[in-house]
Symmetry: C2
Subunit: 390 residues, 2 copies
Amino acid sequence: MNAEQQELIQAREQIERLPKSKIRAIANASLGLEGLIPLWFGESDLPTPEFIKQAGADALMQGCTFYTHNRGIPELRTTLAEYASGLHARPVDVDRITVTASGCVAINLIQQVLTDPGSNTVIVGPLWPNLIETIHIMGGETRIVPLTFGEQAWTLDLDRLFDQVDDKTTAILINSPGNPTGWVMERDGQQAVLDFCRPRGLWFISDEVYHRLVYDRPVAPSLLDLAEPDDKVLVINSFSKTWAMSGWRLGWVTAPPRLGEVFEKVIEFHYSCPAHFTQRAGVTAVMEGEQFVRDMVQRYRAARDLSVERLRAMPRIQVHSPPGSFYLFFAVDGMTDSVAECRRFVSEARVGLAPGAAFGEAGEGFIRLCFANSLETLHEAFDRMASLLG
Amino acid sequence: MNAEQQELIQAREQIERLPKSKIRAIANASLGLEGLIPLWFGESDLPTPEFIKQAGADALMQGCTFYTHNRGIPELRTTLAEYASGLHARPVDVDRITVTASGCVAINLIQQVLTDPGSNTVIVGPLWPNLIETIHIMGGETRIVPLTFGEQAWTLDLDRLFDQVDDKTTAILINSPGNPTGWVMERDGQQAVLDFCRPRGLWFISDEVYHRLVYDRPVAPSLLDLAEPDDKVLVINSFSKTWAMSGWRLGWVTAPPRLGEVFEKVIEFHYSCPAHFTQRAGVTAVMEGEQFVRDMVQRYRAARDLSVERLRAMPRIQVHSPPGSFYLFFAVDGMTDSVAECRRFVSEARVGLAPGAAFGEAGEGFIRLCFANSLETLHEAFDRMASLLG
């Protein structure tokens, strides 16, 4: 095979243009590095709790190995509807719930359903690249309105957000609590965006996968507190963060009932259904997981407070204590290339961090650290970082 | 909410136009019907074998609950490369293997990578609707060339296939052994299509998920017997049929090495990775599953032979004994509406069958029956059908 033929092996242009994950690029290059403390990915250092693993293993051994309903087994959908109704200000009916094969897949599914080539989505940044690139894959454009790293906290200028909307805008997409910033949108902000979307017929896509990882209340403000069932509102959620189930691939969407039949047919063509035994474990996670969630959040709060304290002791670093998520997104004075800096942290300090540039242009100058780890490990990581940043 | 607002809740046109699954439509309407014999879906009546379930449960309890490599854990990729190399005429290197979260997801992923709006794909029909609709979702067109229900077997006219190709054609897509017909494409046919594709720079997408469900040889003719690593050939496979793992959601694609980096970034945005413990079970299935596969095929062969014999005894029915798959696709004399007929089979005979119309226009006049069942159950089903068709 010659070079010319090699060149022929390509994806369509839209796909070739997609950026590689800048986190994965650094992480993959460091596989097997001894003594590395990995704080780059968005997952807990602890495996899924025993009672959930056991429920999954039991379902498996009992033979839950067949196809299920496209939108999930009825028991899981009912359980999630009751969970949401108990957590939020308004009841959520089961016909609004669609179980998905991860939060990630939910995002992909939504973009397949909504994004026409040439349309655009207005998005609050910096943010997790999947929320952007799934739109590009469908031929849509993205308009990122960055949060401001203010004196006390990350803040959003709603007027700047609304200014980006034009007649080709399909949706406004907001991730709160936010990855990577930990920013939490308060209820009045959510209401203002909803009020803006309603008369314009815009979709409001709310990624709420960190809804339980908040440190000043039991659950983050949610569109489910505000939206009518038939509002054009899509709320994305996941089992990954709340029940430490990242490697299982299970999530759900809350949507207007009309979209139920749409999701049903697209899921049939997309992934058919989530794994059966995984859905059984999901029922157990939601029904019996509240104590686990409380303990986990307490553990993360201590980790957050320690991490903020240690980082603030480093002269070149500025950081806000995040009200939500399990990330710190800190500014490093004088840093212009976060990817190079993160490579240096790996090679010289054996600490794995995610470069801010991975979360869009607005992220450059920052580094993301996942503090879902033991205090001991975090102390060790900060000791190593201090020697480099000192 | 008034009617006007209700109307606003829609997917984009491409999605609204997608047909609902005609199999699901009948099946969903019959949920809970007592004494029903369901032969409509493409899965075995038996759960996944014990040793595979145990491997999954063990991996789960051992804490394989974290994210993995996008393209699958190295051990599973290596295992699949060795499996393919042992099974086919040419070695398959691990850099060609990408593990996916089902064969279904592999199809979706491939269409995201290849299908631009306005392009077309030429396809052998009748076939499983996912292979068609995933192209429509991406804005592509499909051109179906139907197999002929000949005197002795289903046959393909290659000239008719090639005649459908024009300058907007991206790929030729063939599913062999085929769902729903059980047709198996012989090596000379595959070679002819490959020879046609090569100088034209066309992709050859070969869905081979039924590769082990063949009754006259150990494995079906495969593109992996013929293709160079850098040929524009994509081979889709799945754990669902070969190891009775339909409810797990695990598959793989064999592709030119160049596409590895492309799949890696698209998977990151699509579903991140397949479930970790599921991949561990996949390793066990491939490494220890050969005896199971042999026993399963023997069981299916007996089921096939019985089913053909029983159907041929019914005067209105014509059927070929399929060399592959676990389906019979039989013609019913005088039937013009397979959906109505299948509804009648449910309500009057409590036998669940899939209407031929579910597999495209060329499928009307036929009904699909999945014979992956016990002889006893099949006898009972045919007794009931005979009373209706007598």
